[in-house]
Symmetry: C2
Subunit: 319 residues, 2 copies
């Protein structure tokens, strides 16, 4: 058995030399878990992810605990990971959330906007522009405090109520987030309906609108199995920040309405094959996801995790 | 809910206008099932797949029943599907298998070679060249009978015993298969370790060796979640034949050592998004895979099947 040497590294021309993975498992993954995970387990998860080489680990959310009870322990958690050698951004929905985060010493924060009116109403109880107005003082205040602000944008490709989302609408909200002062954007395919041509079209439209590709991250969901193909299209366009969730945490992929995040391991496997540097130790990352899966009591949905923790040489029948 | 309009069709420049899907579920999928499926169910599966618009459905194998007992009913099955309006290629390992297939009226046949010595020995009990010598009269005889011959080549990227497989070794065996008279080749990533740069490198090397891209099909496994990204790389190179298995049949993806085929539905979803014509009715295909999953008593591992048969609009939390 020599699959340790796999995948073979064969760079493809025109792709970035290095990609920064924005790990969202502890926040985006765990907030979708039915069971609330103990604070100490969350802290250990973040610590192990950083130990596996992930330089950016989104740690928690300062949304009101009523809305996301799974992350109601943000105040208790954040100090526990203060010494972790990684950037630990946190979600802040409004000025109150930002105050809580800043008081704990957080300086990397993220706001979350929507490209569609339906989701803005459902998720934020506001119009798209109403949400942007809410974020204006949040971004300004974070920047004044010397912070770095990520702007998440949900439903960039399709919306469960509205269907396909026009590219120019996404461009408009991205422009607004950049004008507010966001340092980076994360383009979310919240329901997983993007395909590679759509990804290219959106990235090209953003470039044409004067938004530098360097400020863009992509956040794909594997609902229809498209996340890695979409990532490849984004890399070909020059994107160098990719969101992913360790072990594919986030949404239960065994449920019928899976909304699973791209698994960090599947992403790292592809990038390793392409010779793109991520700084991640895949073995340690897989071990971390297996450890977390044990805590949650169900196996990781990541195909790479499953393949690497099984025996790869058995039962290979012809073709 | 308007996800019926999804994915939005956004073509990407430089991709083929049409792709021929070579459906392998009834053969490659079912031969890996622990339970033997009744002949009538297999016939109905093939009929429904053709009804969903799949123009090529690999029907069965004329390998000796001792080696693949799941497909021991080839003689009984083939006449049951004689009226199905699709090409129905069958696997033939040797002259005896070819005789059996020709006697039933089959004219599209496939031989299966290996790029590595280890797998040639394990699967065919022969060296790579010994297997090619065995296929020589098979291909010649099939061509004399007016047939069309596909040459499968396993382990084109990595091998569980030998590790990474050098591109030039794959090119050599492909050349030999073309020289034998094969009309088309299927490049198999049998253990799923290919990544997009490796795919491009192999396709470029084959082109440089004078093997026309038009005779090439790609056969990716989703063991590490890479199959669709690899397919995108192949499409970008001009490949227009892609193997896939309805519902992702083939290898049990819930087992640790998953070797699952690319699910036809996940492929069709991407191609539909890219505006690439396949002739496939996705709804009928999904219904067929659900029907087959019910016969097998376990859910389809295809993410698209799972997403389309669940409710897509529930539980969308922020980002």
């Amino acid at each position: 058995m020599s699959t340790d040497a796999l995948p073979m590294t064969v760079p493809a021309p025109g792709l970035p030399a290095r990609v920064r993975i924005h790990e969202v498992g502890p926040r985006d993954g765990l907030q979708n878990e039915a069971a609330t995970v103990p604070t100490e387990v969350k802290a250990e998860f973040i610590r192990r992810l950083a130990g596996a080489g992930l330089a950016t680990v989104e740690a928690t959310s300062f949304v009101h605990p009523r809305w996301v009870p799974q992350l109601a322990d943000a105040e208790a958690l954040f100090p526990l990971v203060a010494d972790v050698p990684a950037e630990l951004p946190v979600l802040v929905p409004n000025e109150r959330g930002l105050e809580r985060a800043l008081a704990l010493g957080a300086r990397r924060v993220a706001v979350f906007a929507s490209a569609t009116e339906s989701f803005a109403q459902a998720n934020l109880n506001r119009s798209v522009d109403g949400a942007l107005a809410m974020f204006e003082p949040v971004v300004a205040c974070a920047k004044e405090a010397g912070g770095h602000v990520r702007g998440y944008l949900s439903m960039c490709f399709g919306d469960p109520w509205e269907g396909p989302v026009p590219v120019d609408r996404v461009v408009r909200v991205c422009r607004a987030l950049v004008d507010l002062g966001c340092d980076e954007l994360s383009l979310g395919d919240t329901i997983g309906v993007a395909t590679p041509g759509h990804v290219r079209a959106l990235l090209t439209a953003l470039e044409d609108a004067g938004i530098a590709t360097g400020v863009l991250g992509v956040h794909f969901h594997d609902t229809y199995g498209q996340a890695l193909a979409n990532t490849l299209a984004a890399l070909e366009h020059g994107v160098t920040t990719v969101d992913a969730s360790a072990g594919g945490l986030g949404g239960c992929p065994y449920a019928k309405s899976a909304t699973g995040n791209l698994a960090t391991e599947d992403l790292v496997w592809m990038l390793r094959g392409l010779g793109i540097d991520t700084g991640v130790d895949l073995s340690r990352l897989v071990a971390t996801s297996v450890w977390m899966a044990d805590r949650l009591g169900r196996p990781s949905p990541s195909r790479t995790v499953r393949a690497l923790t099984g025996s790869a040489a058995d039962s290979h029948k012809e073709q």
